[in-house]
């Protein structure tokens, strides 16, 4: 595959993974390795464990590439969802999130082909917008998102931690996601179809 792999679409890359092409795995890592590792470190705070989580997550994509439907979502989302769930499982001792990783069918549009510089710029813009969107949330809504997504706490656990009714936590979660979605969509960074 060589240098041409940088021009492959996600769908083509997945086909290479499904065919057992190790170079496709290397290309997958080069595209998303830093994102995956950064996410794992953010959740775990432990670089050693983060390496294991990233390796496990890439191996899951490698093993189940044949199950991936590019029409339903992006490869990046699948991989990073796996990283997040694996990291939370390590952190919270709660295995068993595998089913949802393949089930989630409402995703970002699949990423088209593109060079590494463009991907880096695109991710940087998305990161900047996301951070602005998070900062713009009321602190109680931002807190719920951070505890849930990066801390791996369930709604009931969060309600206990912040000492508010469960229904309030769920309401804050929905409001936060609605605002984030609206903010990112308004800047053309996500397409909710």
């Amino acid at each position: 595959m060589g240098d041409t792999t940088t021009e492959l679409s996600d769908a083509e890359l997945v086909r290479g993974l499904g065919a057992g092409q190790v170079e496709a795995m290397r290309e997958l890592y080069r595209r998303y390795g830093t994102l995956a590792y950064s996410l794992a470190v953010r959740i775990l705070g432990d670089p050693g464990r983060a390496e294991d989580v990233v390796q496990d997550s890439f191996m899951r994509v490698w093993t189940y590439a044949g199950s991936f439907d590019a029409g339903r979502g992006s490869l990046r989302t699948w991989l990073l969802t796996t990283v997040r769930n694996r990291a939370i499982d390590y952190l919270r001792g709660r295995p068993g999130r595998e089913r949802r990783e393949l089930e989630l069918g409402f995703e970002l549009p699949a990423q088209g082909p593109g060079s590494d510089p463009w991907r880096d710029v695109s991710e940087s813009l998305e990161r900047e917008a996301l951070r602005k969107a998070l900062v713009s949330l009321p602190s109680d809504q931002r807190q719920v998102v951070e505890l849930a997504y990066f801390g791996g706490y369930t709604q009931r656990e969060i309600a206990g931690m912040v000492q508010v009714p469960l229904g309030t936590v769920k309401g804050r979660t929905r409001l936060a996601l609605e605002k984030l979605s609206s903010y990112l969509q308004g800047r053309g960074l996500i397409d909710v179809g």
């Binding site: 830093t34 969802t81 769930n85 001792g93």
Partner: protein, 251 residues
């Protein structure tokens, strides 16, 4: 819209965020299948959740991580039937090389330790936490030591975690992503003492998915290093015939 349905919609948001309570997940999944407006809500919120992994400041991974990932993939290439990890056999290390048969309490301890690996708990989460869910299997925290082995060359992608149940003189080494040994070879586990003596601790071949759990039925007093080499099948060697490519130091 009913109050009940609004509550469900809020729960759907939590589900999309990966934060629903486990006891609610089946109900929410079923509701999503039946309710078009909630599917629409989920589809609207999910892209924002998909952007959240970009929030962390980028951290450059160590160079070895790429090697690990690629080596692990190469190690499993050709596996005819990749399956979720399972523990199918447990081997007794060292001569005589026969299968382990425990009785009584030791059988329970070994089974509990194997269950911990099977649950995926040992590699990263708290042995004590899982033990708390299974009180009968819970070893005292001070009696449990964990070690990691690091690979190089063809073993760069291998994950190997050892748990030493000190009081019971049992060690389990959990291997993942092991490449298949060359024809006519298998892997041999060594316990290397402080004076440099390599004690054979068992031979094994990984499963088709590269996994294996090896049980070492002895204490680790005086052992400074755990290592793995490839040796001739079926009995291995009495001394390592090559430099180990998988090594872990016992602190």
């Amino acid at each position: 819209m009913s109050v009940d349905h609004e509550e469900l919609e809020n729960s759907i948001a939590a589900y999309v965020l990966g934060s629903a309570d486990p006891e609610d997940e089946d109900r929410l999944r079923a509701h999503l299948e039946a309710c078009a407006s909630c599917r629409e809500l989920a589809a609207r919120l999910a892209p924002a959740v998909s952007s959240l992994p970009l929030e962390p400041e980028p951290v450059k991974p160590p160079r070895r991580l790429e090697d690990r990932v690629v080596a692990a993939a190469a190690a499993t290439r050709g596996a005819s039937d990749p399956k979720p990890r399972s523990i199918r056999r447990v081997w007794l290390p060292g001569p005589p090389r026969v299968r382990v048969r425990f009785s009584g309490l030791r059988a329970g301890l070994a089974a509990a330790a194997v269950l911990l690996f099977a649950a995926g708990a040992v590699a990263g989460s708290s042995l004590d936490r899982l033990g708390a869910q299974r009180p009968a299997a819970r070893p005292p925290a001070a009696e449990v030591q964990r070690y990691q082995l690091a690979g190089s060359g063809p073993m760069a992608g291998v994950q190997a975690n050892a748990v030493y149940l000190k009081r019971d003189s049992l060690t389990l080494v959990d291997f993942k992503y092991m490449p298949a040994p060359a024809p006519g070879q298998l892997y041999e586990l060594w316990l290397i003492t402080g004076d440099g003596r390599a004690v054979p601790a068992g031979v094994f071949s990984p499963e088709s998915d590269g996994s294996k759990v090896v049980l070492v039925d002895r204490n680790l007093e005086g052992v400074k290093t755990v290592a793995v080499t490839a040796e001739p099948a079926p009995n291995g060697s009495q001394a390592p015939s090559q430099a180990p490519q998988l090594v872990g130091r016992i602190a």
